[in-house]
């Protein structure tokens, strides 16, 4: 059977399958690497000599879902160090501290983990490295580091406090090491809510005690209040921010992963059905020779798998390459840290291979169902009619997509954009299903029109071929329509949301400048007070909080959201367009909410970024929820629960700030027009667009490949036409006209399907029936479709002589 199947295979059709699987493999493997990294990507371990680490729990378990990671450091009591030290099997236990620290005089190499956690107490060095020269820093103004000169005086901002330090020691570990006393002060552990705490307890096991054994003992002694990490999990304990950050990697491809799987399935299925159609006659003969429908389906399946198998390995290689490029992009937009590499395991390739072979198996079964059941006697010259079930299912999906697109009319939170975003993929599946019948109807109407009846031979034939071979034409029309719909709707949805966001952010921040210090991981202490002496200014903290569902269509379980912390000083500066309450009351356990989410005076349970549970009072409600998110917390509350405890930015009225800022190193001033939500969203949008571009390129190559194969396979048909008196020129013209019809049909269908959700989105978010630009994408996509069809058809057409 296998031998027969392979002998029957037509190379042309199977090349299409091969290319489809190759590209699909690359896409799925690349997505898989990102997802895999979302679970496993880690920063390099700092406390390399600690076999076990005891830290607070940095995640909240969620029923039937992944736990929500907490990005801000939750400290543990300093007394825990003593308790751990007494546990049998522990050779040494150190209370480790990390705090923001950066050398601002001259240049220093970047520290793994960034400046936010570059400062440590001297005792941590016993587990992270060695003293290589000099003596232990003892005074408040002494420091040690890896790349420096003994005795050198350095300007350092540590814990938000600028000061001059003398280098007393050189070490072989990254980061800046201070005396333990200085570290405790700089990390804010000598007073306030975090007094007497440490970040984690790093443990070295006694000789002959295995880390796992020790971890077990510790777990028995300490209970499950603490996270006890060994092996590669130590890195997670060291940097909770990195754990939460990589969670973003899971979200990024998730938003487009479904679409890519759908496209891969569509392309592979299309390739297979092309291959099947080219050997209809042989398959019919096989049936006539006594093969059962099941055997015919097996022949088709074997051919499909034979074409898919050789594409797996090169596809996977291409996928890893693509993932690396995607990783660069993620680093470029700040979604992934440069020192947090992607994980290139074998798992994504294996999973992608299994998935694709499954897709090929299912697609070949579906594509061969009708051919295999064809009555033995008939069917050879049959063109195939689209089944009514298929058509109706497609029309239903298109209808459903229209209903979904209406969501922004009802709700105006960001979640409403999910409606139109889901509508587009649904619509294109609908188009693929209903396509043949739609093409048949449209071309039929065209063919019957008086206008076409008067056209010249080639043009007339082109219209009639499109009508008569609707199944053949519809494949290309649907695939190209998919390119147009997805390209337009995904891109313009993003730009429309971005425009809606900045339309709210711009008036909210009108007439303000932003002061930031990215290389210090936060605004140094004292700067805000000095700015305030010159001009009205407000500090702003960005952090993450975890809440239950707030608005319609939110995740019903817990969701981590980036939020802004504002204080009373924001009143009169940052305009949230308040409905009720006042920003001046944003102190202590207080929050402001989007007016659609709650009312002043209500209580809201909030889990802060370090896991602290707070019952906050709603003190204000506002309208600009797209720019500021559904929730704004008080700055006090936010700052008390961040790793650094520093402001992220200062918003101020413009004034002669230059002389002041010259005294503060590494501080930058920018005009503020972007809302705080814009950064995260635009990063995500960029990745979505990049993935989309790759996807659409894949789809275009696949369609072009298919068109070439279809046109080449028409040799018999063209020979007949020539014998009936068609000149080569007429045949070329006919084929070109068919190309024009395909391109026009695809562009038209694609634009219509994209337009409905986009118009709704425009009405909902911009109060006008037009989405945000760039609207040249519309003619642009038509041009791309036209170009691809032209190239794919012109090549074989030129060979007609």
């Amino acid at each position: 059977m296998i031998r027969i199947a392979l002998a029957m295979a037509r190379i042309g059709g199977l090349v299409v399958v091969f290319v489809a699987v190759l590209g699909g493999m690359a896409l799925l493997t690349a997505t898989g690497v990102i997802v895999d990294s979302g679970f496993r990507s880690q920063l390099p371990l700092r406390l390399v000599q600690a076999e076990v680490m005891v830290s607070a729990r940095q995640s909240i378990p969620v029923k039937e879902d992944l736990p929500v990671a907490l990005p801000e450091r939750a400290p543990v009591p300093g007394s825990l160090v003593g308790v751990v030290r007494e546990v049998p099997g522990v050779a040494a236990a150190v209370g480790d501290l990390s705090f923001p620290a950066a050398v601002v005089s001259g240049t220093s190499p970047p520290v793994p983990g960034g400046p936010a956690t570059a400062g440590h107490g001297w005792s941590s060095l016993s587990l992270s490295g060695r003293l290589t020269a000099g003596r232990v820093p003892r005074g408040q103004d002494e420091i040690s580091l890896r790349d420096g000169r003994l005795g050198e005086r350095l300007r350092v901002v540590a814990g938000g406090r600028p000061a001059t330090y003398r280098v007393t020691a050189l070490v072989d570990a990254p980061g800046l090491y201070f005396s333990d006393a200085a570290a405790a002060t700089l990390a804010g552990r000598t007073s306030g809510g975090r007094a007497g705490t440490v970040d984690l307890v790093a443990v070295r096991a006694a000789a002959g005690v295995s880390p796992d054994e020790l971890a077990r003992t510790l777990r028995q002694r300490l209970g499950d209040r603490y996270e006890i990490a060994t092996g590669r999990y130590r890195s997670d304990a060291e940097s909770p921010g990195a754990v939460a950050g990589r969670g973003l990697l899971l979200v990024l491809p998730g938003s487009i992963g479904g679409v890519s799987l759908m496209i891969v399935g569509f392309v592979v299925g299309g390739g297979l059905s092309l291959s099947i159609n080219r050997q209809r006659r042989e398959l019919a003969l096989l049936r006539a020779a006594g093969a059962t429908p099941r055997q015919v389906r097996r022949v088709v399946a074997v051919q499909g798998l034979a074409a898919a198998a050789p594409a797996l390995a090169p596809g996977a290689a291409l996928g890893y390459f693509l993932a690396a490029r995607l990783g660069d992009l993620l680093v470029g937009i700040g979604a992934l840290r440069a020192d947090q590499p992607l994980v290139y395991g074998p798992l994504p390739a294996i999973a992608a291979a299994l998935l694709l072979l499954g897709v090929v198996r299912v697609a070949s079964w579906a594509a061969s169902l009708r051919v295999s059941r064809m009555p033995v006697v008939s069917g050879v010259a049959d063109l195939g009619e689209p089944s009514p079930f298929r058509t109706n299912a497609g029309l239903l999906l298109i209808l459903a997509s229209l209903v979904l697109s209406g969501a922004p009319l009802a709700v105006r939170t960001e979640a409403a954009a999910i409606g139109p975003a889901t509508a587009a993929p649904l619509a294109v599946i609908g188009l693929a299903l209903a396509g043949p019948r739609l093409v048949q109807r449209a071309a039929g109407a065209l063919a019957r029109s008086r206008f076409v009846a008067r056209l010249s031979g080639p043009c007339w034939l082109a219209v009639h071929n499109t009508h008569g071979h609707a199944l053949r034409t519809a494949g290309a029309v649907a695939a190209l329509g998919m390119v147009v719909t997805l390209g337009l709707s995904v891109t313009l949805t993003q730009t429309t949301l971005a425009e809606a966001r900045s339309a709210q952010a711009a008036p909210a921040m009108r007439g303000l400048v932003t002061i930031t210090a990215p290389s210090l991981s936060g605004i140094p202490r004292g700067l805000l007070e000095e700015v305030r002496e010159l001009t009205p200014a407000a500090g702003m903290v960005t952090t993450t909080v975890v809440t239950g569902p707030l608005a319609f269509a939110d995740n019903p379980r817990l969701t981590a959201r980036p939020v802004l912390g504002l204080g009373p000083d924001a009143e009169g500066l940052v305009d949230l367009d308040l409905v009720d309450g006042a920003l001046s009351r944003l102190t202590g356990a207080a929050v402001a909410l989007d007016e659609q989410v709650g009312r002043v005076g209500e209580r809201l349970d909030v889990i802060m970024g370090d896991g602290a549970r707070v019952e906050a009072t709603v003190v204000a409600t506002y309208r600009r929820g797209l720019a500021f998110g559904p929730i704004v917390v008080s700055r006090d509350l936010a700052a008390a629960h961040t790793t650094t405890g520093l402001d992220s930015a200062i918003m101020a009225r413009p004034a002669a700030l230059a002389p002041l800022l010259a005294r503060w190193p590494a501080v930058e001033v920018t005009g503020a027009t972007q809302g705080p939500q814009a950064g995260v969203a635009s990063g995500q949008a960029l990745v979505n667009l990049a993935v989309l571009a790759v996807l659409l390129a894949y789809l275009l190559v696949a369609v072009a490949n298919r068109l070439v194969a279809t046109t080449t396979a028409r040799r018999d048909e063209l020979d007949v036409l020539r014998r009936l008196g068609a000149t080569p020129r007429q045949l070329r013209r006919m084929i070109r006209w068919e190309a024009v019809l395909i391109a026009a049909g695809a562009s038209g269908a694609g634009i219509v399907l994209a337009a409905v959700p986009l118009v709704m989105l425009g009405i909902g978010f911009l109060s006008r029936p037009v989405p945000a630009g760039p609207l040249w994408l519309v003619p642009g996509s038509v041009l791309v479709v036209g170009l691809v069809v032209w190239l794919a058809v012109e090549l074989p057409a030129r060979r007609i002589r």
Partner: protein, 242 residues
């Protein structure tokens, strides 16, 4: 009688294979000529060359007084459109368009207005009046071949070339098609050149050319079926004929 197609010492080679060997022939107007011979005897090549579907390696083919050999593919196509009609074993109707559109297709390609009366008469004659708006797949083999004959005649060509027109048909349909061809010759003065395997088909022709090894070895005037059968059996036996 004026010859519609003439072949003068036409040779066609495919590499080393000589498919036609210096064949000289004239097909007079109003004649029904059958071409027979065993497989590989060159009868299809003869048809292709005579119909200007293919170019001879040497010698001249004239159709409507024009030397075909010197024309480009496009010019030959235009010439064929004007002077020749074709009927094929596999009907070669386009499945995507209706029977009527199939019939007028060559006219459309030539940019010529169809002669309604002429077409009506032809359609009536072959009995396809009520099948015109169907797709070819809805017609029986005999009906499809009759549609193909109407198509071949639509442009009032000087000559109709038929390549095994009954090869795919049952006995009854084949008889109908052959009767039709003979009728066209007798009643409308049409010229038909038909390649066939079937001695019964050849008996409907005015004359039968018998081919072997790329040459016309015999011309039989209205042969009786038995006589033809005997000749062909001897050829099939591989007996050399000089």
């Amino acid at each position: 009688m004026r010859p519609v197609v003439t072949l003068d010492r036409v040779t066609k080679r495919y590499g080393d294979l000589v498919a036609l060997d210096e064949v000289t022939l004239a097909v007079p107007q109003g004649r029904f000529v059958a071409v027979m011979g065993p497989s590989g005897s060159g009868k299809s090549t003869l048809l292709h060359c005579a119909a200007a579907l293919d170019r001879p390696t040497s010698g001249t083919v004239k159709m409507g007084g024009t030397d075909v050999g010197r024309l480009s593919e496009t010019k030959r196509t235009v010439l064929r459109r004007k002077h020749a009609g074709f009927v094929f074993q596999s009907y070669n109707l386009l499945p995507a368009i209706s029977v009527q559109d199939n019939i007028t297709l060559p006219l459309r390609l030539a940019g010529v207005r169809p002669d309604r009366e002429w077409l009506d008469e032809l359609v009536h004659r072959v009995g396809l009046r009520d099948r015109l708006h169907h797709k070819p797949a809805a017609l029986s083999g005999g009906q499809q071949q009759r549609a193909a004959i109407v198509r071949a005649l639509a442009a009032r060509p000087d000559v109709v070339f038929a390549d095994e027109p009954t090869g795919a048909l049952d006995l009854r349909s084949a008889g109908q098609v052959l009767d039709l061809l003979r009728e066209l010759v007798d009643e409308l003065g049409q010229t038909v050149v038909m390649v066939t395997h079937d001695p019964a088909a050849a008996t409907r022709a005015h004359e039968t050319l018998v081919m072997a090894d790329g040459r016309v070895i015999d011309v039989l005037d209205a042969p009786a079926p038995e006589e033809l059968a005997v000749r062909l059996t001897r050829l099939a036996g591989g007996e050399p004929v000089r």
